[in-house]
Symmetry: C2
Subunit: 339 residues, 2 copies
Amino acid sequence: MKTPLIDGLQYANWSEKIFRQMRDGGLDAVHVTIAYHENFRETVLNIEQWNRWFEQFPDLIFQGRTAGDVRLAQESGRTAIFFGSQNPSCMEDDIGLVEVLHTLGLRFMQLTYNNQSLLATGCYEDDDTGLTRMGREVVAEMNRVGLVVDMSHSGERSTLEAIEHSSRPIAITHANPASWHKALRNKPDTVLKALGESGGMFGFSLYPHHLKGGSACPLQSFCDMIARTAEMMGIDHVGIGTDLCQDQPDSVVEWMRIGRWTKKIDYGEGSAAAPGFPQMPDWFSGNRHFSNIAAGLKAAGMDEDDVAAVMGGNWRRFFEKSFGAEAEWKMAGAAGAGA
Amino acid sequence: MKTPLIDGLQYANWSEKIFRQMRDGGLDAVHVTIAYHENFRETVLNIEQWNRWFEQFPDLIFQGRTAGDVRLAQESGRTAIFFGSQNPSCMEDDIGLVEVLHTLGLRFMQLTYNNQSLLATGCYEDDDTGLTRMGREVVAEMNRVGLVVDMSHSGERSTLEAIEHSSRPIAITHANPASWHKALRNKPDTVLKALGESGGMFGFSLYPHHLKGGSACPLQSFCDMIARTAEMMGIDHVGIGTDLCQDQPDSVVEWMRIGRWTKKIDYGEGSAAAPGFPQMPDWFSGNRHFSNIAAGLKAAGMDEDDVAAVMGGNWRRFFEKSFGAEAEWKMAGAAGAGA
């Protein structure tokens, strides 16, 4: 069977149109954000909405729970939807919700979203104090049940401590190297190297604020950067995490940035002059454009196997070792996981 | 493999002692009440407590989700724990929570607990107006996902309408025939016959208020009653649902009766003179005494196969056709289900 095409993060304004574009683009699996600042009950409401979409569009999408569901997606011509949260607000202050959320299908959870959380420090804080007391407990619980630690929006120290403390490989699902484009959300080489050495995964982001040159970033600049990063981290540890926010109104990026933590406006990666969602690069405006990236990687000198690995093979292997209970993972030979 | 031993309802003050007694008594599976008046978030807290017990006592118990887990319990020498709620308060006013609760493992839900609910009328109300508008919608949703409608605490009309409206067989997990012992919680023959004809299941209760003679009810009176009811309903449609509330303090029966719906005391099946839990019959004080019932059924003239069917075989078959999605159930040949 062909290597699957997998996107490590999207947060679209979901609709039948977008689900059909996923099929047009041959997307076999995608990690979707189901919550930012939502508390547990609000996250469950979002899951209820997804359940209705699964019921409404059974020929296009279904809920992914295990790595095996990627294969099921390929065999049945549908896209497997894997849930994630960009903030731990969904688990409130209750470690017992980690397992409950995993049972409901959550497969990724960021320990922070830009700000300090109960668990760690976000990449927009002045001082990063690393994993908190609760953060260490929650990482261990996430390891136990098979919920991936995602540090895309965390600070450097917190990220390095999460890599160190986690008994299982972690992910940065959507970001780029700061050495290519300096931004609070992009990651220093210290983090990239530690992530690769620990068997973790890095997903390259198409969100214009993470791109050198923003919306005008050329495809080849992006793909050359991927090739260079793959050399530094190891080809097995990189994938795509588009951060595609298709069809979202600008009110949503405002909610993403301020949630309920401030009464003032905060522009995050934007500015007063450009407060809304930035325009996507013309070579990636949605789910039908993954083939452009694959072509760009080839033009960057990657061979066919490496391109397939970046476009989904690596995520699939990461899913295989990440979504099951730790006890099963250890029995299956965890030793190879950090290789 | 031996026919399994299954109890159709318990609500004990759970402890390692009780889990060990389940093993001593050879109990392969049990439907446990995880919520009475709890709302969704409180029900999730109760699930979190169960998750801790599953983590703490993996050699004694595990969460049952499918009928196949009864076999797994037999093979691994453990008791499979199936969740249920005695009231629909866990789903609040939100039909989307039906699927969410099923995903979390809920396999039985009563439409009412003595009082009028959003869905139907309880057996303590003066007037029973049957299934409500929302009740009909929720029964259809329960049918779709594989959550069993349990009418143990509902009124006669509501129960008959649930049997009629439900596309899948329903259950009365814990009650006795009113013709044997008149009580608001025991069921008239109209209900028993309709339940049997529709392929449903009736679990006989050991709760003393449901027994002729109360705590002093002789074993043989109970078992003779089962044999007579099996003749009326069909041997395939009866099982045990002990309603065992082992080790619970009397404050719990008060909570069961009044929850948050009244500020006054309500004695339910008890009285001011006897407000607490009644004493169990000496021939069934806990999970080690199932063999007494099996012996009593034999003494009532039942052959070995029928005794095995009542002690668990019928519940297992009911689990097989009840816990999966309706679409799968129909594919597997639902036509036989009402036989």
